[in-house]
Symmetry: C2
Subunit: 271 residues, 2 copies
C-alpha cells in the first residue's frame, strides 16, 4: 500500500527531515487485521511516552486518527508508523515550532514458518552488546544501529532471532522481540531502564499475567538465569509468542506457561 506523510500519499521525505539527519524520532510496528490495528492503545501509549521523553510535541489524537484510517485501507498487513521531530536546518538544536512528521508505511503480514510458533526458534547469540543509555532505554526510537549490527551477525535460516545482552552480559531481549523466561512457575523479563526496547506485547503479556495470577518479575537477568530457565520465549506485536528451543549450548522445549501466554497473545492480536 502507498505510504502517507501527514495524511497524504507520499513516497519520499524531505532531505531536511531530522529522522534522516539524526534518527530524531520514534516508530511503531503495528499488526493490522481486518482493517484494525492490534494493540492500538499499547502502541499509542509507548509513542506518547517517547514523545514526552524526547520532547516531541506531536498531535497524538491526529496520529491515532490517521493510523485508524490507514489501517482500514491496509486491511491485513503491518503498518509502520514513524514520527519524526520534523524538518530543520543543519544542527542538533531542535527548532521550536517545527511540525513533527507522521509517516505511515504498509507491508503484507509476514508469513513466518508455522514451526516457529509450534516448535519454537533458536536464538543466535549476538556478539553486539546493547549500550546503556537510560534516557533512551525502553523507547522505540529511530537510532537502531545496534540492531542492524546484531542482525547482520547471522545469515542462516536456522536462527529466527538473536539474543542481545548488555555490556555486563545480562540478558536483555531479542533483536526484534522481548524475551521472557520461566522458572518454577514464575515469569521473568529483563528490566529495560538502561537499554532495550519495551515492547508493546511484553507490556500486554505482563498485564495479562497479572490478571491470570501468574507471578512475574521484571529484573536484571544474568546469563545464569537463562541457564536455569525451565521455559524461554520471545514475543512481539506482529507474531505474538514464539517458544525458544535453544541458544548456543542451551536447549528447551515449549512449556505450559509459554503455551498459555502464546494463546493469550493470539487473542490479543486478533481482537
Amino acid at each position: 500500500m502507498q505510504s502517507w506523510i501527514d495524511g497524504q500519499p507520499a513516497a519520499a521525505v524531505n532531505l531536511q527531515n531530522r529522522g534522516l539527519a539524526y534518527g530524531d524520532g520514534l516508530f511503531e510496528t503495528i499488526a493490522v487485521r481486518g482493517g484494525r490495528p492490534s494493540l492500538l492503545d499499547g502502541h499509542l501509549a509507548r509513542l506518547t511516552l517517547g514523545c514526552q521523553r524526547l520532547a516531541i510535541s506531536a498531535d497524538l489524537a491526529l496520529v491515532r486518527d490517521e493510523l485508524l484510517r490507514y489501517a482500514s485501507q491496509l486491511e491485513d498487513g503491518v503498518a509502520k508508523l514513524i514520527l519524526t521531530r520534523g524538518d530543520s536546518q543543519r544542527g542538533y538544536a531542535p527548532v521550536a515550532g517545527a511540525a513533527p512528521r507522521r509517516i505511515l508505511q504498509g507491508s503484507p503480514l509476514p508469513s513466518y514458518p508455522v514451526e516457529h510458533a509450534e516448535h519454537g526458534v533458536r536464538l543466535f547469540p549476538c556478539q553486539t552488546r546493547l549500550g546503556e543509555q537510560p534516557l533512551l532505554a525502553g523507547l522505540k526510537h529511530l537510532n537502531r544501529l545496534e540492531q542492524v549490527l546484531a542482525r547482520a551477525e547471522w545469515q542462516d535460516s536456522e536462527h529466527a532471532e538473536g539474543l542481545m545482552r548488555d555490556g555486563q552480559g545480562r540478558v536483555i531481549e531479542g533483536v526484534y522481540s522481548n524475551l521472557f523466561l520461566v522458572r518454577d512457575g514464575v515469569l521473568f523479563t529483563a528490566d529495560l531502564s538502561r537499554c532495550g526496547v519495551a515492547g508493546v506485547m511484553r507490556a500486554a503479556l505482563l498485564e495479562q499475567a497479572a490478571l491470570l495470577g501468574i507471578p512475574a518479575q521484571v529484573c536484571d537477568l544474568p546469563f545464569e538465569a537463562l541457564e536455569q530457565a525451565d521455559e524461554v520465549f520471545v514475543c512481539n506485536s506482529v507474531y505474538g509468542v514464539w517458544p525458544v528451543r535453544g541458544v548456543a549450548a542451551l536447549n528447551w522445549s515449549p512449556g505450559p506457561l509459554t503455551r498459555k501466554l502464546q494463546a493469550v497473545a493470539r487473542t490479543l492480536l486478533e481482537t
Copy 2:
C-alpha cells in the same frame, strides 16, 4: 544550494531509505572554501573507517568525486555528506547488494561571533551522558539522539557549546566538537574507544602537534583533569579552534598552546 542524491539534484529521499528507518548510515560536515573541501583526506578517511565498521560497501572514489564536484559549485559554505546503507524493505537485516545512497546538502558558512575565537566560549555542563558502545564509538554515524537531547538542554546564547561526559563522569567531548586540555605543556584529549565522535580536526591537530613536537596524550579524562587544566579548547572542522573560557564554576583564559593550535587549525582550513 540544491541537494544531490547519487549525483543528481533532489529534494527528497525515498521513504524506504535505511537512514530514515534506523539511522543506518554515516555523515561528514565539511567546510568548503573557494570551491574546495577542507580536510578532505581526513573526512574521507573517517568515512572509510565508518563504512568498514558498519559493513557499508560504498564506492568511496565516487563519493570523493561527487563531493569535489558539489564543493566546486557550492564555492563557500558547508557541505554535508550523508551516506546511508540504501533502501530496503522493513527489517533490520541489511539487504545484500542494496546500493548505498550518497546525499549532499549545502548551506552557507555559519557566521559565528568573532569573540568565540578571540575570547573563547563557555560550555554548558550537559546532564545527558554518552552511552558506551565500542562498536560505534568514534564514528560519525546517523544515530545522534544523544546529541539532540544534550543540545536541547540549553537555549541561552551564553553557551556556544555543551560539555558531554560519559556515564562515569569522564570528560569526552562537546556536542559539536572535540575537547582538548593542556596541563604543564602537554596536550590531552579523551580516548574515544567507548563513546564519542573522533573529529577530523581532532585527528589533524594531533598529527600537527606531533610534527611540532608538542607532547600529546589520548587517554581517559576524569573531571578532575578539567579542574587541573591550564588551558582548554574545543575544535571542529568548520570553525577550527575556540578557546574555552569556562564550564560550571571553572574558568580559563586562552593560553599559548591554544593560540598556537588555533593558528594551525586556521591554516588547515584555508589550504
